[in-house]
């Protein structure tokens, strides 16, 4: 046991005046009485006139000396050397991503990580500093390079878990920023290991503390509603079992808050199942899907936050569609089955019919001049002002799909791996306005973009030159493109967005946007000059309602869903190591020397003894709380002091 401030032990000399106080005669309060000749016979103290008296044993004196001893020791800050994870200048990264809510350890992974962090604070040396960064969708510096253990503890205790994935790239970058000008930076990461695999290397000594023991978790990993083929809306859902045991779950659906169905499913360990529900009504707006563990099941589900998913259903369609095709039955069938579509078919031989359409579909034909409106051009026979056709590629091997643009609503759920294409048109000159959605080795297969205030997509091959119409990808592709063509909406989101994603809102009219959060809280955003506002408070999973408002009037209401849908978070399997840069870090061992201080315990002990001393001193008053002094007593009694230097 050593002391950080041993000079404080000199305060122990205060015991001398305390003892002297007990040896000194009391300064008594004078009080008139009619006669004191009776009292004279009762006086116990025979040395009434001497200033000093013999020191007698007193419990109060003993307790007061103990209080002083405890306080002086606390001021001297005694410490003990203990093994710790890290010391020196520490940056602590506290994983607050959704997976940390798992309850496989008690009370949860996040709370256990807070306890680990606090234990690390306990062993901080006198010169050590700590920075605490909460790692969520946006890294948050809770306290920066502080030596104040109390402030660090408060920062750690005040940290809250999020519903989102952690942005580890940004968090590590932030931690590395603290290494500038520092001789030795120690980065301690407390996590369950759900880190992405492409993290950069950072300077300093990295220690990883891994939490989590079990992997049993069922999650909804996909959820979407569509009305395909003009029929009833359908629900697509995916349930994944990340655990090591086959599990059963009850998949419940609620439409606009009313329970619609509850089905029991068995999900094999490490597998997923797809759920397709076809008989949904077409008049609902919000859908909530929930997983729950059936009674009797002995397979736990440790993470709750991925057991609920949300979807918003909109029956909107493409409006008026002109289909110019030489009797392509696949096209006419699929467009006639789309909900909300008024389909007009034209014969290319008769030219472009009169009238305005929202969407023009040209199959292996182009008019002399492209009309105003959205375009879906299939197998373009020649060049236009928007693109140039350089020839036909007929090598089936070079027409294999090599790239599908990820994270794009137009390619969502598209599986082109099994699609075979015999030949396609080689298109160039679109780079200014379009992106390649699907690409083969020899060139783009699907292009999409916005030009001159219209949306244009080009499928560079004829349907009859491929087996695409026979694949599930065909209706998915048309559905995705139709939703994209839909007249402009304020929200440009797919089925849902991830928590923490900033969402642009582009109202076509109005002066403000009011967003209602899943918890009922409302946020109003005023429109600026750009006719676009960004809404970033999407940290909570659930359904957000967006109202486009003009003054007090609501012009339109749209909604979007925020879902976790993150394998990194839902897969709570304990990791043995974490890869940062090229180094795999396993669970850190306590090999550094830290300091465990004892002043808080001593201060609490002093407080308890003080309380006992107070109770002891007031025991008579506590027994007779109403004992008072008559008004005619010559002088008033002194008020009792809390810590009085009095004899018992």
């Amino acid at each position: 046991m050593s002391f950080i401030t041993p000079a404080a032990l000199a305060m122990g000399l205060l015991s001398v005046p305390i003892i002297l106080m007990y040896m000194l005669r009391l300064r008594r309060t004078e009080m008139n009485i009619s006669s004191n000749f009776l009292w004279q016979q009762l006086v116990r103290d025979r040395e009434a006139n001497a200033p000093w008296q013999r020191l007698r044993f007193s419990w109060l004196l003993l307790l007061q000396l103990l209080i002083l001893a405890a306080l002086v020791l606390a001021l001297a800050r005694p410490f003990q050397e203990v093994k710790t994870i890290s010391s020196g200048r520490i940056v602590l990264l506290l994983d607050a991503s959704a997976s940390m809510a798992a309850t496989d350890v008690s009370p949860s992974r996040f709370e256990q990580s807070q306890q680990i962090a606090e234990a690390l604070v306990d062993t901080l040396g006198d010169e050590d500093t700590m920075t605490v960064i909460r790692v969520a969708d946006v890294p948050d510096v809770l306290i920066s390079s502080s030596q104040d253990k109390s402030a660090i503890r408060n920062a750690i205790r005040g940290a809250e878990i999020s519903d989102s994935t952690g942005d580890w790239f940004a968090a590590l970058t932030l931690a590395a920023a603290g290494a500038k000008g520092v001789e030795q930076l120690n980065v301690v990461i407390v996590t369950d290991g759900g880190l992405p695999g492409n993290l950069p290397e950072i300077p300093g000594d990295i220690r990883v503390v891994l939490v989590g023991e079990e992997s049993e978790n069922l999650a909804i990993t996909a959820l979407a509603t569509r009305a395909v083929g003009g029929g009833e809306p359908q629900l697509f859902a995916q349930i994944t079992n990340y655990g090591t045991q086959d599990a059963e779950t009850i998949f419940s659906l609620s439409l606009d808050g009313e329970l619609f169905s509850a089905q029991r499913y068995a999900v094999p360990a490490g597998q997923h199942i797809d759920v397709l529900t076809e008989d949904l009504p077409d008049n609902f707006r919000e859908l909530e899907a929930t997983l729950s563990v059936p009674s009797g099941s002995n397979v736990p589900d440790y993470l709750d936050s991925d057991n609920t998913a949300y979807a918003v259903y909109s029956a909107g369609g493409a409006g008026r569609v002109l289909l110019m095709t030489p009797r392509n039955i696949f096209l006419s069938e699929i467009f006639s089955s789309l909900p909300g579509v008024q389909l007009t078919q034209g014969d290319p031989a008769n030219g472009l019919p009169r009238g305005e359409f929202d969407l023009y579909v040209f199959d292996s034909w182009l008019p002399a001049r492209l009309p105003d409106g959205d375009l879906f051009i299939i197998n373009p026979p020649g060049s236009t002002e928007l693109f140039t056709v350089t020839g036909t590629i007929e090598n089936i091997n070079r027409a294999r799909v090599s790239f599908i643009k990820p994270d794009d609503p137009r390619t969502e759920f598209l599986d082109f791996k099994n699609v075979n294409i015999r030949s396609f048109q080689s298109v160039r000159g679109f780079e200014d306005w379009a992106e390649t959605m699907i690409e083969a080795e020899a060139g783009p297969l699907l292009l999409a973009g916005e030009v001159n205030n219209r949306q244009v997509a080009i499928l560079t091959f004829a349907l009859q030159e491929s087996d695409l119409p026979l694949q599930i990808a065909w209706p998915v592709l048309v559905s995705n493109l139709t939703r994209w063509y839909t007249p402009p909406r304020a929200l440009d989101v797919g089925d849902s967005i991830a928590p923490g994603t900033a969402l642009p809102i582009r109202p076509y009219a109005g002066d403000s946007v009011r967003v209602t959060l899943p918890n009922g809280e409302r946020v109003t955003l005023e429109m600026g000059e750009t006719a676009q506002v960004a809404f970033a408070d999407t940290n909570r999973a659930g359904i957000y309602t967006v109202e486009i408002r003009d003054g007090d009037r609501t012009l339109a209401t749209e909604a979007f869903a925020v879902n976790l849908f993150s394998p990194l978070e839902s897969n709570i399997t304990p990791r043995e190591s974490v890869l940062i840069g090229t180094v795999a870090f396993s669970d850190a061992v306590r090999e550094d020397i830290g300091q465990r201080e004892w002043w808080r315990e001593l201060a609490v002990l002093g407080l308890i003894i003080l309380l006992v001393e107070w109770l002891l001193y007031h025991r008579a008053a506590l027994r007779k709380p109403s004992a008072g002094v008559p008004a005619f007593i010559g002088s008033r009694l002194p008020r009792r002091r809390f810590l009085g230097w009095r004899r018992s």
Partner: protein, 298 residues
């Protein structure tokens, strides 16, 4: 509460005492003891020569007719009982200093004294009052007759307690100075370091029939104080340090009880009427009940 000694309430009570005075009579020996003095009674005792100034009504005109010399008829006088009232007027009697005025020991004792004196005056007794205080004492009387009530009240109202007295010394002085013995009422708190016994013995030695009325205030019987105190005696100015807790207060009460028992035992042995009352008891209750119970009044 009025701070007037003889306020309307007190005076009304005195009037009530006057009404009952015909039944209440001081002196247990009244009517049984004959005076050696010649008086105005109808029983003949002797003759003497008339001297100038004698009441002509008392001249025996039959003797004058036979002897032609005026003789005054001396008749045996009935005892005119002397009632002496001794009031302790030391500073300790002016207690409590604060609180209810009526419960101040001096006020309470004075009202008792006036009540008893009034009864005696109405009954035809010779009343004298002595107030004992530091320096000059009060000396009122002897007087007889109802007419002296108001002068008595006025004189008593002027008298104020003061200083420290030696009760024994004062009582001895009184015994020596007073020529005519009789009933003697002593009203005191008896809180005197030198005691009271020698003084009372001296009175008894001179033939006084002593009644001791022990006046105490409630806080002297049951003090409600605690803590570390320096007690200042308002009479002597002497101080005493005490640390009061429950145990010490119990000890005081035991000591007080022992003291009053000693006084009671002393009085019983010496045939002294002794009554101890605290000032929260209505003063007229002492006269109407307590003294009659003891046989002091009848």
């Amino acid at each position: 509460m009025s701070n007037v000694l003889f306020d309307p309430t007190t005076l009304r009570k005195l009037e009530q005492l006057a009404l009952v005075a015909t039944q209440v009579r001081a002196g247990t020996l009244k009517g049984e003891r004959r005076s050696k003095k010649r008086g105005t009674s109808i029983e003949f005792a002797d003759y003497r020569d008339y001297t100038k100034g004698d009441d002509l009504r008392r001249v025996d005109w039959n003797i004058y007719a036979r002897l032609e010399r005026p003789f005054i008829k001396l008749l045996e006088e009935e005892e005119d009982l002397s009632a002496h009232f001794i009031l302790d007027a030391s500073a300790s009697m002016k207690w409590p200093e604060q609180g209810v005025f009526d419960q101040m020991k001096y006020v309470w004792a004075l009202r008792v004294l006036v009540g008893l004196a009034y009864i005696s005056l109405v009954s035809g007794d010779v009343v004298s009052i002595t107030g004992l205080r530091q320096g000059d004492n009060l000396s009122w009387g002897p007087h007889r007759g109802r007419a002296y009530l108001l002068p008595m009240l006025k004189d008593m109202e002027k008298f104020q307690p003061r200083g420290h007295i030696d009760l024994n010394e004062k009582l001895r002085e009184f015994a020596l100075r007073t020529r005519r013995a009789g009933m003697c009422f002593i009203l005191s708190d008896l809180m005197c370091e030198t005691g009271y016994r020698e003084g009372i013995s001296a009175l008894q030695g001179r033939g006084f029939e002593v009644t001791l009325i022990h006046v105490l205030s409630k806080d002297e019987i049951d003090p409600k104080i605690s803590g570390d105190l320096k007690l200042v005696d308002v009479e002597t100015g002497k101080t005493q340090d005490v640390s009061l807790d429950d145990e010490m207060l119990d000890l005081y009460k035991k000591r007080f009880l022992s003291w009053t028992e000693d006084i009671g035992m002393f009085c019983m042995k010496r045939g002294i009427h002794y009554v101890q009352l605290d000032t929260s008891t209505p003063w007229e209750q002492l006269i109407l009940f307590e003294l009659r119970r003891l046989g002091v009044l009848h």
